[in-house]
Amino acid sequence: MASIDITGVSKIYPGAAGRSVTGIDLTIADGEFIVLVGPSGCGKSTLLRMVAGLEDITEGEIRIAGRRVNDLEPADRDIAMVFQNYALYPHMTVRENMAYGLKNRKTPRDVIEARVAEAARMLELGPYLDRKPRALSGGQRQRVAMGRAIVRQPAAFLFDEPLSNLDAKLRVSMRGEIRRLQKRLGTTSIYVTHDQLEAMTLADRLVVLNGGRIEQVGTPLDIYHHPASTFVASFIGSPAMNLIDAEVSGNRVVIGDQAITLAAPVQGIGGPAVLGIRAEDLHPAPSGLLFRVDLVEELGAQRLVHGHVSGQGLTLALSPAHPLSETMTIAPAGPALHFFDVGTGRRIGDTAAARTGAGVMA
């Protein structure tokens, strides 16, 4: 059990022009489940590998349980990692795979046996202990990789996209298993994924990375409802948040040749801005924006209606009960408007005040 403190950490690969990871500051509390999420090449794996000790830290400092680990060997950091390809030793049985790390640490034999048995029980691996990894299915291999981390009873677990080699159904069930296990053991965990749904469902707190920098840190719901930038807004949530060009003046938001009027003026915004609205926050309304429908995707529980408002693409998530027509009048509901700076893409204004009292001004 331990906290992890990351202070001003950067990574410059030898021969690379710039930083691959830039100035990361992150404090992870004891027992917390942190998910690093971002598109490929955003630096999430590099950051994880720096915590693991598999990559050198170019700048900054990482502390695990208060102890500076920058110059420690991976073996001395008291952490266990679950790899994307499992990294099971093919020439050892499941039992030997799990016991290997403990043997290296000269753990007494009876302790090793007890811990392996306990992990095998927890992961339902009992019948497979004497098999070699090649005789296991994908999900079982994944569980052995988890077991190998558990028996070590480390200060922290590191997961590097551990579910990406499984099929969709197994991924969902293993996701739940990982979460339950982590809750039960209470071990601090850092989990890397590019799958935003996996990130949302697993994390106590999400860290969204882009281009080697942290875009936003927060709970999944916090990030979903208050994305700090257009990048986060379009990356987290499915379908992605609608982002359209708008012009704000006072309580009027002009979109092309249409406009909506808000109940109160948007604080601190004047002139052009990017307006963000979640698909489920748009509803048919007696008055509002004129929406032309292009395409309907039926998902069963809901339908996604794609179309445009004044030439800008927009998606609505509607209940199948709603009747559809070629043109509809729609309006945002609730505290549902997000504004972002046109140049930087950062969030601006106070959306709490942006309650709609929509009306059409043709």
């Binding site: 598999l54 991976p74 390809n85 093919p90």
Partner: protein, 568 residues
């Protein structure tokens, strides 16, 4: 309906015609070997083990077998040491100029073995021109240290180190980096990672490479012939050669048994190697991620220097010695700027009818073999890939046999098969054609594998698209498959050409006056004391070999994976 069925039948009949190609291929590749088997077991006199018992009971047989095992075994140990050291460093570390290093390590394997032996003898011993020129030659009359079991083993080891290197490197590239990272995080440090993870995982590859090296060293004729025959140290291949050249075809039943004996040992080695390779591929699970890469840091420059110094020792120095010998006016004269002369080069390349004829024969044989095999391999590889049947798979496995078996075995088999072609009165023995047929059988696999690699990587949808656009089979092969497989076929043809030009073992038993090959002539020149001319001829072949290898290397980047044997 009926007409549709008939049409399909017509449309597919060319496919079946191509399958007929399997028959002559199987006949040429396997017929002689079956004939050899029959001879050993008393062909014409009913099944009997009398021959086998008699030949095996002889002292000379047992001594030659023992010598073969000792020299091939010793050579394998040396190959493993050299090949493994290079493979570990090249595959796992960040040294520079890997391609150049690998190319240089491959050259000894591509140079004919008798040239290797000749070059090393010019580097050591009392009459070495190089040592004399430097003034450090041992006194006259002192023995040539290489003319011993140890010398034979050393040169066999150097000649075949590349086999261990290539097999082990391929195995090491398959070990994913995260296995080592996982071990490091589990508290394994330094040598424990090597001992518990990397070594156990690379062991099957190492064993497979060692077994293949043993088989190849066992069949090597050039080195024990050049070094062993003058020292009366016979191995099985040289024993067969000496018996056959001394006694003529009357000893064929006897040498057939010897050939079967060496063939049996070789097949055991090949099977062991295959078993090991299959264990290797079963062992690793999951996708292989990034391969291992260790940073050597400040040690890198020293490791690089060590490797290149070693290359200098085993490659550059012997070739320099060979070059020096080829430039002196007479054997034993020290080389100076004043005494250097191209007389010997002039003699072998332009004047001597024997060497000129040998050049013509070798180039003709190598050229014909490349062209014929290219024409055969393309449709054959296509049938194997697109219309696999039990027969294509059988041929696929069996074409390895004439190449894996020692050359003397194939040569004896060909003599037996073509001495009097069954049902006709024609004999091919003593003509160039018997050598050509032996080459076709032996090198088919050298040509076939690159073409198979290329066709295997072609999307069948391309041909289906052409077929749906109305192109018949012949047209599809000509316009779609051929252009796309052509670079690989060309690389394969150059490899066949290279191997055929280098060939000594098969032709040493099959040649007669007028059908000498380069390998035979070098051997005969050295045997009759014409060391300077032998060196000049050998050096000209080395230049040719390196130039051809260079052609393949330059094209390597554009060829599909698996075509150039020394590339990843």
């Amino acid at each position: 309906m009926t007409s549709a069925v008939a049409r399909t039948g017509v449309g597919r009949s060319p496919d079946r015609l191509i399958s007929l190609l399997l028959l002559p291929v199987a006949l040429i590749a396997l017929g002689p070997i079956l004939r050899l088997l029959a001879e050993g077991l008393g062909y014409g006199e009913g099944l009997t083990f009398a021959h086998v018992g008699e030949v095996m009971g002889r002292n000379s047989t047992r001594i030659a077998l023992w010598h073969s095992l000792v020299t091939a075994g010793g050579g394998t140990v040396i190959s493993v040491l050299i090949g493994a050291a290079f493979a570990f460093v090249v595959a796992l570390t960040d040294i520079r100029a890997k391609a150049a290093l690998v190319f240089c390590l491959m050259i000894p394997m591509m140079i004919p073995p008798q040239i290797t032996a000749l070059a090393w003898m010019q580097m050591m011993g009392p009459s070495s021109v190089l040592l004399k020129t430097l003034g450090i030659a041992p006194p006259m009359g002192s023995p040539q240290p290489l003319r011993s079991a140890g010398g034979i083993a050393l040169l066999l080891g150097i000649q075949h180190a590349a086999i261990v290197f290539l097999t082990l490197r391929a195995g090491l590239r398959m070990i994913p980096a995260d296995l080592v990272e996982a071990a490091r995080m589990s508290g394994a440090r330094g040598w424990r990672v090597w001992g518990r993870i990397v070594l156990p995982l690379s062991l099957p590859s190492l064993a497979a490479g060692a077994a293949m090296t043993f088989v190849t060293a066992l069949g090597n004729f050039g080195i024990p012939a050049m070094l062993g025959i003058p020292a009366r140290y016979s191995t099985l291949p040289t024993l067969i050669y000496q018996r056959l050249t001394g006694m003529g075809p009357s000893v064929l039943p006897e040498v057939a048994v010897l050939a079967l004996l060496i063939g049996a040992v070789a097949i055991a080695g090949v099977l062991l190697s295959r078993l090991m390779l299959s264990r290797r591929s079963l062992g690793l699970v999951g996708l292989s991620g990034r391969p291992l890469a260790l940073a050597l840091g400040s040690a890198r420059i020293w490791v690089e220097a060590g490797l290149w110094a070693f290359i200098f020792l085993i490659l550059v120095l012997p070739l320099l010695a060979l070059l020096a010998t080829s430039l002196v006016p007479a054997y034993g004269v020290p080389l100076t700027f004043g005494s250097a002369t191209f007389d010997a080069w002039n003699e072998v390349l332009l004047r001597q009818p024997v060497t000129r004829r040998a050049y013509a024969n070798s180039l003709l044989l190598a050229g014909l073999a490349s062209v014929i095999l290219m024409a055969v391999a393309l449709p054959l590889a296509w049938v194997m890939s697109r219309r696999p049947t039990i027969w294509t798979r059988a041929v696929d496995t069996l074409v390895d046999l004439p190449y894996a078996l020692p050359g003397v075995v194939l040569a004896i088999a060909c003599i037996l098969a073509f001495m009097r072609i069954p049902f006709t009165g024609i004999t091919l023995y003593g003509t160039l054609w018997i050598i050509l047929i032996a080459y076709l059988a032996r090198f088919l696999v050298v040509m076939l594998r690159p073409v198979q690699a290329a066709i295997g990587q072609l999307d069948p949808a391309m041909e289906e698209a052409a077929a749906s656009a109305g192109a018949r089979l012949g047209r599809r092969l000509w316009r779609i498959v051929l252009p796309l497989a052509a670079p690989s076929a060309a690389a394969g043809a150059i490899l066949v050409f290279l191997t055929a030009v280098n060939e000594l073992t098969v032709s040493a038993l099959l040649w007669s006056s007028g059908t000498e090959t380069l390998g035979v002539v070098i051997f005969n020149l050295e045997d009759s004391g014409e060391t300077v001319m032998a060196s000049a001829l050998a050096m000209s072949i080395v230049v040719l070999v390196i130039a051809l290898m260079g052609c393949v290397q330059i094209g390597a980047a554009r060829l599909p994976k698996g075509v150039v044997p020394w590339q990843n």
